[in-house]
């Protein structure tokens, strides 16, 4: 029983909750929580060969951005913007929760198939990482589920803010999958920071646009954003 599994379980929990939560504020809190846990994952994974200073520094920055800055922005947005704090899903909560569960099953299936194809080679190449590889299964499952649920949120929620949150979840998922697969990236902090910066700016821009949308439409319901069509 590796410690990282607990983290991953927490992430999955947050995903499922976010799918069935009906209050924006709660949703934002969930994302903040999820952000912190996700940024902690590399930390707990690399316990195998000890913590480096840079790794910890990086962890702190990640937490700062994903766990504090972005949620803070979201909170401001929510408080400034939202008239009704309901989430107003296009498909019901239970349905989306159910979809989330299906997502988990799907990701498990994908992961297994991938492992059966790849991990023999992988472990052959990195024998010292055998247990690491084992953990990867769950990591990959979590990543795919998170990403999928993010997409579900994007497709099934009416409020623009919820879509931003969906985007963030998707980003987290991808980050997890990246951690599971490509460790080289996570050794290059410049690139990491650049990606992080992009994420931050993206949320910032979205926030600004949201703000403007709210000013002009008095709401952030994307149903109002369906005028441009052929």
């Amino acid at each position: 029983m590796h410690i990282s599994n607990i983290f991953l379980a927490m992430i999955l929990l947050s995903v499922l909750l976010s799918l069935k939560s009906n209050r924006l504020a709660a949703l934002v809190k969930l994302v903040a929580f999820q952000g912190i846990v996700v940024s902690a994952v590399p930390l707990v994974l690399n316990t195998a060969h000890g913590l480096s200073f840079s790794l910890i520094m990086f962890f702190l920055i990640l937490v700062l951005v994903k766990g504090l800055l972005i949620p803070a922005l979201m909170f401001i947005a929510v408080n400034k913007v939202v008239t009704s704090r309901e989430i107003e899903p296009i498909i019901g909560y239970h349905a989306s929760l159910f979809a989330g569960l299906i997502m988990i099953v799907l990701s498990v299936y994908i992961t297994n198939s991938l492992h059966s194809i790849n991990y023999p080679i992988y472990i052959a190449n990195h024998p010292h990482l055998a247990d690491f590889a084992a953990n990867h299964k769950l990591l990959l499952v979590t990543g795919i589920t998170t990403m999928g649920s993010g997409l579900i949120l994007l497709m099934t929620r009416r409020k623009a803010i919820t879509q931003v949150i969906g985007y963030l979840m998707m980003e987290n998922g991808i980050y997890l999958i990246g951690t599971a697969l490509a460790k080289v990236v996570h050794a290059q902090y410049v690139v990491e920071f650049a990606v992080l910066l992009d994420l931050l700016v993206a949320v910032l821009v979205m926030g600004i646009v949201l703000n403007n949308i709210n000013h002009t439409f008095d709401d952030v319901d994307t149903a109002l954003l369906g005028q441009l069509k052929d």
Partner: protein
């Protein structure tokens, strides 16, 4: 030094935010010129071949950088006169973002590290978003929202694709710098399955930005709602930059011996884009949307050409050059019409030739060019693509290609002829057309014309180097 091409615009852009309007304009123009200067330096390798950790001057990158830089000079020139017509409250923001946008795009063209490339592409999205919603009208906000969200989602997927590509390297226990150039070298050893997966995600991710159907959905809105200079820049430069990502990955697949697969994928997306644009160009109501869909079509043509390779790839490269020139010229002319009529509806813009002779001529000339007539370059590129496609034995592709070309031409010709020649019900002119704003489109068209008659050898050589990595020489 290579990085100047994005560092200088970056600094200038940030500066413009805080400078007064007049100086801002000056900075904009001068930066454009300086950028062009550095680009030429790079083009002629005056700084020597350069290979940093994250950047390199690849032939395809240089080609796009040259186009970008050339376009930007005239678009910024246009911007200055355009701004003097429309009093925009947030002009410094606009000019600043133009420069930041330029810097982001320049970064894309020279980025070599896979993730750094991704970062640059995402940056272009974010930097261009303010350009689109600068007016804060309902439509522009909606367009921006769709643009930012859809592109961000798409590009996030591209990041996933990048991870897959990297993993395809790690899994077979190779460790090189994860930059395109170094990956080409070891491409054959990459794990094909993960490489394919990566390719799919990257094509779909960056394809979203290129405007390949069915991920094109944001494009017509963004291109039609943004202010004229922005539209011109989006259509003329941004799409190419995004396409660079697709192209690089195709190159990688080719090096890995999966060229067959990636070619088919590209051709499929290209044909889809052409058909989709055909659907929406027929009885379109809004002329900027029409131009946007035509951009989708042309990106589709380019994708097809690259997918086919050989002579068609050469054609596609020519197509990139001439499409950028002609399409941005068209958007600038459309901007002049928008100023003159105050509406984007085709039914309300009649008799352009009579009311705005200069704009009418440039617009129609642009249309003639975009639909593949000489003396403009798209004629030769489309001819070469058809020849190459049939040589490659892709008969189905060719038939769909020709079919949709005819459809699109039929649709567009109807609208354009109506706009240019049919008389308008009321002849009131909001803003008369002036030489300063008519000149940039004319120059862009003339450039395309000159390049059709005489293509400099250096460009030819560059294109040769580009396509040599995807299916051999021109007469292959």
């Amino acid at each position: 030094m290579l990085q100047f091409v994005f560092i200088i615009p970056l600094i200038a852009g940030i500066a413009v935010f805080f400078l007064p309007v007049k100086t801002g304009r000056v900075v904009l123009l001068s930066t454009a010129v300086i950028h062009a200067f550095f680009t030429t330096m790079e083009w002629f390798k005056l700084t020597g071949p350069l290979q940093t950790r994250y950047f390199s001057n690849s032939p395809e990158g240089m080609l796009l950088l040259a186009i970008l830089s050339f376009l930007f000079i005239f678009i910024s020139l246009y911007t200055v006169f355009y701004m003097s017509e429309v009093e925009m409250s947030k002009e410094p923001t606009f000019n600043g973002c133009m420069l930041l946008f330029l810097s982001a795009m320049s970064m894309v063209t020279i980025a070599d590290h896979i993730i750094m490339f991704w970062v640059a592409v995402e940056a272009t999205t974010l930097m261009s978003a303010p350009l689109i919603f600068i007016r804060r009208s309902k439509e522009s906000l909606e367009a921006t929202w769709k643009y930012v969200l859809i592109c961000s989602v798409g590009i996030a997927l591209a990041l996933l694709g990048c991870f897959f590509v990297i993993f395809s390297m790690e899994i077979s226990d190779i460790h090189v710098r994860i930059s395109f150039t170094s990956l080409y070298a070891i491409a054959p050893q990459l794990n094909p399955l993960w490489l394919k997966a990566g390719f799919i995600f990257i094509v779909i991710g960056y394809g979203t930005k290129v405007g390949l159907a069915p991920m094109h959905t944001w494009l017509p809105d963004a291109h039609s709602e943004s202010p004229t200079p922005a539209s011109a820049l989006l259509s003329g430069a941004l799409l190419n930059c995004a396409f660079l990502g697709v192209y690089r990955c195709h190159q990688l697949m080719f090096a890995a011996g999966l060229g067959e697969y990636s070619s088919n994928v590209l051709i499929a997306f290209g044909l889809a884009s052409m058909l989709v644009s055909a659907v929406f160009i027929l009885n379109q109501k809004d002329y900027k949307r029409m131009l946007a869909y035509s951009s989708i079509e042309n990106m589709g043509i380019i994708t097809i050409g690259i997918g086919i390779g050989g002579l068609a790839a050469f054609g596609a490269m020519l197509h990139i050059i001439h499409h950028s020139l002609i399409k941005s010229s068209l958007f600038l002319s459309a901007g002049n019409m928008l100023l003159g009529y105050g509406t984007k509806l085709i039914d309300k813009t009649g008799g352009v030739l009579r009311l705005f002779p200069k704009t009418g001529i440039t617009f129609f000339a642009g249309f003639v060019g975009i639909s593949g007539f000489p003396p403009f370059g798209l004629f030769i590129s489309e001819l070469l693509i058809i020849l190459g496609a049939i040589k490659a034995g892709r008969y189905v592709t060719v038939s769909i290609f020709i079919f949709s070309l005819i459809l699109i031409f039929a649709g567009a010709a109807k609208l354009v002829m109506q706009m240019i020649f049919k008389d308008n019900e009321n002849d009131e002119i909001l803003v008369p057309d002036k030489w300063p704003r008519a000149l940039p489109p004319i120059i862009l068209l003339l450039t395309s014309l000159v390049l059709t008659i005489w293509l400099p050898d250096s460009i030819y050589q560059t294109i040769q180097n580009v396509i040599s990595s995807i299916g051999g020489p021109v007469n292959g």
